[in-house]
């Protein structure tokens, strides 16, 4: 079997505090995997390690059979919406063009082939009417679609998304997830999310991350898994409220939103 991600004995600490420890993961290609867990549990850190943005303190990571640094150009990254600078003057077209960056160096004029790829990605995300609109004038859902288009413009084989539905309204979320499901036919997808309805409808496996990683090769969420990911104490720490009878569960975020960049 070909693996998109192979992680062994991974440790990562930040300023002396251990963020991830003893992480193992073998994720086959073609999966639509969800990464769940509490804020500060190391989800974003894990994605950044897989993208080569951060380097592990020990252990090994292989992405598409090679190092994260080498694989990064085959990976698409949709960071949290809060990452980018809101007042930065840039149109949707120029934003998505960033995805073609390595082709543009030294060229004052953009080549037609790159323009076509960018327009394709914009069209795929249903943003064609907004090509020339400034990114800071978009709604949360539109901005999210533009960010996904930017990741797709680099023609990735694996797509990492960090809470892509956080600032999107409910109908927008459904559209977004349908597009992702379609994309999953062509690429492996890893998505950080707190929204467990996403998980029960769309994904093929779940990784629960809370300093350690627990990988489940089924799309079903069990009480046990949620406890592993979010901890058992219902008060103060655990954001989970189990609604209705059994599955699906809904995760109601009670966390202080200021520690979003975990």
């Amino acid at each position: 079997m070909k693996y998109a991600i192979e992680i062994e004995k991974l440790h990562f600490s930040y300023n002396g505090t251990s963020v991830l420890s003893d992480v193992f993961l073998k994720l086959p290609e073609g999966e639509f995997a969800a990464i769940i867990g509490p804020n500060g549990g190391g989800k974003t850190t894990l994605i950044k390690l897989m993208l080569g943005i951060l380097k592990p303190k020990s252990g090994s990571i292989r992405v598409l059979g090679t190092t994260p640094q080498k694989a990064r150009v085959k990976a698409g990254y949709v960071p949290q919406d809060t990452t980018a600078k809101k007042e930065f003057p840039i149109t949707v077209f120029d934003l998505v063009m960033m995805g073609r960056l390595s082709n543009l160096r030294g060229h004052l004029r953009i080549r037609e082939a790159d323009k076509r790829k960018v327009d394709e990605a914009i069209g795929l995300m249903g943003m064609s009417d907004y090509r020339k609109v400034n990114v800071n004038e978009l709604s949360g859902g539109q901005r999210q679609r533009a960010l996904i288009a930017r990741a797709l413009a680099s023609e990735p084989r694996i797509l990492f998304l960090d809470e892509p539905t956080a600032s999107v309204d409910i109908p927008g979320q459904a559209t977004l997830l349908d597009i992702l499901k379609d994309l999953n036919k062509r690429m492996t997808i890893l998505i950080i999310t707190h929204d467990t309805t996403v998980i029960s409808t769309y994904i093929t496996s779940v990784a629960c991350v809370n300093k350690k990683l627990f990988y489940h090769t089924s799309a079903e969420l069990t009480q046990e898994m949620l406890e592993l990911a979010y901890g058992k104490t219902p008060e103060g720490f655990c954001p989970i409220e189990l609604i209705a009878h059994g599955l699906p569960h809904r995760v109601l975020s009670k966390h202080n939103r200021k520690d979003k960049n975990d």
């Binding site: 943005i53 150009v73 990452t83 980018a84 600078k85 840039i90 149109t91 960056l101 390595s102 160096r105």
Partner: protein, 274 residues
């Protein structure tokens, strides 16, 4: 003003103003969108250490300033890679230590006779032709580098981590960017002095940011604004016998306030119309 233009030093001053405005518009824009105005301030002030060294060892202060600014810029770029979270404190240290070093070196230089004020507050009216050529070279270097890496620089300014994932040479470009800031800073020191550099770097791009939809537009508008501030400042300083550097900055400040008033009135009117 017509007769002023016929004076040789005034001609040089205007050329210097034009060449500096080009560097200022480009580098100022990059400084503002990357939010590293404080880094530029650090580089500018620490440059005084280089001027002190040059005075002490008896070589040209402009090269002392240039060498020192580049060295400080490279140190800061290295810190950016390793310990970004401690950056502000370290900038503060380099800022003050550079100046202190300059003051002490000038103190102990026998028969010191350099016009200190011209480095602190600029001396655009005393710029020799040789400096004009140096400015031209700096402009060409900056235009070449920014032109070649334009998309990388834009992507990095917007989101450095994403830029890395699509293959931007993030570490190298941090050195390049700070190196260009050092070059531009030394150039602007001739115009308005090392204390006032940050104002001329940041005011034009800050105004432009609200009136353009792209980085390139912001750069072009900043160059034009910087040129207007410099020309009007020069004219006023010549007509009323004021310090040129400070007058240029005050003109820029007036521009800043006018733009602020214009935008708040426009905002209020737009609200009223709804």
């Amino acid at each position: 003003m017509i007769e002023a233009l016929q004076l040789g030093f005034m001609k040089n001053a205007l050329w210097a103003g034009l060449l500096t405005s080009i560097a200022c518009g480009i580098i100022g824009t990059l400084v503002v969108v990357n939010r590293i105005v404080f880094i530029s301030g650090g580089i500018a002030h620490s440059t005084f250490g280089g001027i002190g060294l040059a005075v002490f060892f008896g070589f040209s202060p402009i090269f002392g300033a240039l060498g020192f600014a580049l060295a400080v810029a490279m140190i800061l770029a290295a810190i950016t890679v390793k310990r970004k979270e401690r950056m502000d404190a370290l900038i503060g240290v380099l800022w003050a230590v550079g100046m202190a070093l300059g003051v002490i070196l000038i103190d102990i230089t026998p028969g010191y006779n350099v016009d200190l004020m011209s480095y602190l507050f600029g001396s655009i009216l005393a710029i020799p032709s040789s400096d004009i050529y140096l400015m031209l070279v700096v402009d060409i270097i900056i235009l070449g580098l920014v032109g070649y890496f334009y998309r990388d620089i834009m992507a990095m300014a917007y989101d450095e981590e994403f830029a890395f994932t699509v293959g931007a040479p993030v570490v190298v470009l941090n050195f390049v960017l700070l190196g260009m800031i050092a070059l531009a800073t030394v150039m602007i020191i001739r115009l308005v002095g090392l204390i006032l550099v940050i104002a001329l770097l940041s005011i034009p791009p800050y105004i432009s940011e609200n009136h353009t939809g792209s980085l390139l537009g912001m750069i072009l508008l900043s160059i034009i604004l910087s040129l207007i501030f410099t020309a009007v400042g020069l004219w006023l300083s010549f007509g009323y016998n004021l310090s040129s550097g400070a007058t240029i900055i005050m003109v820029a400040a007036v521009g800043f306030v006018l733009d602020f008033l214009y935008r708040s009135i426009k905002h209020k009117m737009a609200k009223g119309a709804l």
